[in-house]
């Protein structure tokens, strides 16, 4: 279905993604982990064509999407939805309109500019919002919502695109644990119920283990791990994160658990 072949992205001398290859042959929920700067975002942005690859190919059902231009490229973007850490909604617009933006790739510019979305689209947007428990917020401005709600609107927008693949770039990094859980569960449900592929950058190991069928680990732009959550032992994680023996998984956790398990770490400032 989706095959990434020797994909490389260089920013100047620095290779953000370095010769990455992997392949997805049937719908799955896949987590991409790695520490900050490992190239996770760049990888996803290249697949969505927000960033152009330096070399390498991304094949989707036989077509190389890295070479698409203009209309074709936008059509590909339409079938490959992206969810961002910061939601990237239009804050001053209402929720339904934000969801309807998912149809921009299909609709003519004029329609969208004059708000002439077909009634069926509007109703579908409401249905999707309803599915994510957000129907009541439909007429509100996006900026009036909490982070978790905004991210659900972003997921609704993604669903509105009726995509084959959903790319999610740290979808829960700016959310509190409760909202994070709601959002991850929504993504999982979409994968399971609709059979869509979800490729999510995650910055915590336990989330990846809990929700994903397969985990890809990146380090310094290279793919250093690709396997099931079970294969992702603490030793492997240490390699991915390039951490020493003092590496504690808990440090990357956002799981909601008993407070007793997490000893608070307090920094003692030196007195002057």
């Amino acid at each position: 279905m989706l095959t990434v072949e020797n994909l490389t992205k260089r920013f100047g001398a620095n290779a953000a993604v370095d010769n990455a290859s992997f392949s997805i042959d049937r719908p799955a929920m896949i987590g991409v982990i790695g520490r900050s700067g490992a190239g996770k975002s760049t990888l996803l942005r290249m697949i969505n064509r927000l960033t152009d690859a330096t070399t390498g190919r991304i094949l989707f059902e036989g077509t190389d999407v890295t070479t698409l231009r203009g209309k074709d490229r936008r059509a590909w973007q339409a079938s490959c939805a992206m969810i961002f850490q910061q939601f990237n909604l239009v804050p001053r617009m209402d929720v339904v309109s934000n969801v309807l933006h998912g149809t921009l790739g299909k609709r003519s510019t004029l329609t969208t500019v004059f708000n002439l979305f077909p009634k069926s689209d509007i109703h579908q947007a409401i249905d999707i919002l309803d599915r994510l428990g957000m129907a009541d917020h439909a007429p509100k401005r996006a900026e009036a919502l909490s982070g978790g709600q905004q991210q659900r609107v972003a997921i609704a927008r993604a669903l509105m695109q009726d995509p084959r693949i959903i790319l999610a770039d740290e979808p829960i990094a700016s959310l509190d644990p409760m909202n994070a859980q709601t959002v991850m569960e929504a993504l999982r449900r979409i994968h399971e119920e609709d059979g869509r592929t979800v490729l999510a950058n995650l910055h915590t190991l336990d989330t990846a283990r809990r929700y994903c069928d397969r985990v890809i680990g990146m380090r310094d732009g290279r793919i250093v791990f690709d396997g099931t959550p079970e294969q992702l032992t603490t030793g492997v994680a240490r390699d991915i994160y390039g951490a020493g023996d003092d590496f504690s998984e808990a440090a990357t956790s956002t799981e909601i658990r008993e407070p007793a398990l997490v000893p608070p770490k307090v920094v003692l400032p030196e007195f002057a």
Binding site: N48, L50, R73, R74, A75, W76, Q77, A78, A81, M82, F84, Q86, F87, N88, L89, V90, P91, R92, M93, H101, G102, L104, G105, T109, T112, V113, A154, R157, Q161
Partner: protein, 286 residues
């Protein structure tokens, strides 16, 4: 905590040297500025037909002439107001249309010349230079050229003002754009939106209040510009004012009527726009 006497001494001497340098530069700059101002004044005074000090007592002569001509004919003023109302409306129309058209071009130009939004990032500096040049050309230059080609009337003034407005607003708009949040734009990119859709749905809603407030300010400026262009044959109230003024004694009452119309219009739009702008910025404040 404290330093040794040595260190303290260096700190002291450094600081003293610093403020001495600052004082020197400051004094020098002030001196140069004062010199420029005074010598400039004297030069201008010398090149003027009448000197500044000699002319000062006569400063009210002209208004006195106008008043002397107008006061006996006060009863005719309302009639004059009516006569010149169409010309005033033409002037306001010129300003309004040129502000709209200019703002339209300014929006496009500013989006094309803002990093992160530009349709063709390589051409950013080209569009910037274009705006600089559009801004630099005084309206009167374009108006005079166009009057030669298109004949007198409102259209040359409209085009001239719109041209300048596009450049002037374009610069202000692109400053607004710099501060726009790019996240929504990226969000729209990811769904396959075209450049136009990204700008219209992702950027414009954010920047619209600021655009509007700048455009209003410009509208007020453009009313003056359109009145001035009337002076060189571009129609509207300025043209009537010039005719009445240059006739002189005998038609100063008409000149006075036109002047009052123009003055009142400018003041009304000035107050109106500062009111609306205050409202906009305050709402945008939180």
């Amino acid at each position: 905590m404290s330093h040794t006497a040595d260190q303290l001494e260096t700190t002291r001497s450094h600081y003293l040297a610093l403020i001495q340098r600052k004082r020197l530069y400051g004094g020098l700059m002030l001196g140069v500025f004062a010199l420029l101002l005074i010598s400039g004044f004297m030069l201008a005074d010398d090149r003027n037909a009448g000197g500044f000090w000699a002319g000062l007592p006569n400063i009210l002569d002209f208004p006195a002439d106008v008043l002397a001509d107008t006061l006996p004919k006060l009863d005719q003023l309302p009639g004059h107001f009516l006569t010149y109302l169409p010309a005033l409306i033409e002037t306001i129309n010129i300003a309004a249309v040129s502000t709209m058209i200019g703002a339209g071009f300014a929006i496009v130009l500013s989006l094309l010349s803002t990093r992160g939004l530009a349709r063709w990032p390589r051409l950013i500096s080209l569009f910037r230079r274009t705006m600089d040049i559009m801004r630099a050309i005084p309206e009167i230059v374009i108006a005079l050229v166009l009057i030669f080609i298109l004949g007198g009337g409102p259209v040359p003034a409209m085009i001239a003002i719109a041209f300048h407005t596009a450049g002037a607003l374009g610069k202000l708009f692109s400053e607004v754009n710099e501060n726009a949040d790019l996240k929504p734009v990226e969000g729209l990119s990811s769904v396959g939106a075209s450049w136009f859709q990204r700008m219209f749905l992702g950027v414009l809603p954010q920047v619209a209040p600021n655009y509007f407030s700048y455009a209003l300010l410009r509208f007020e400026i453009n009313i003056r510009a359109s009145a001035i262009l009337g002076f060189v044959g571009a129609g509207g109230i300025g043209y009537e004012l010039k005719n009445a003024m240059s006739w002189g004694l005998g038609k100063y009452d008409e000149a006075a009527a036109i002047f009052i119309l123009l003055f009142v219009t400018i003041v009304i739009f000035d107050q109106l726009s500062s009111h609306v702008r205050n409202g906009l910025t305050h709402k945008g404040g939180h």
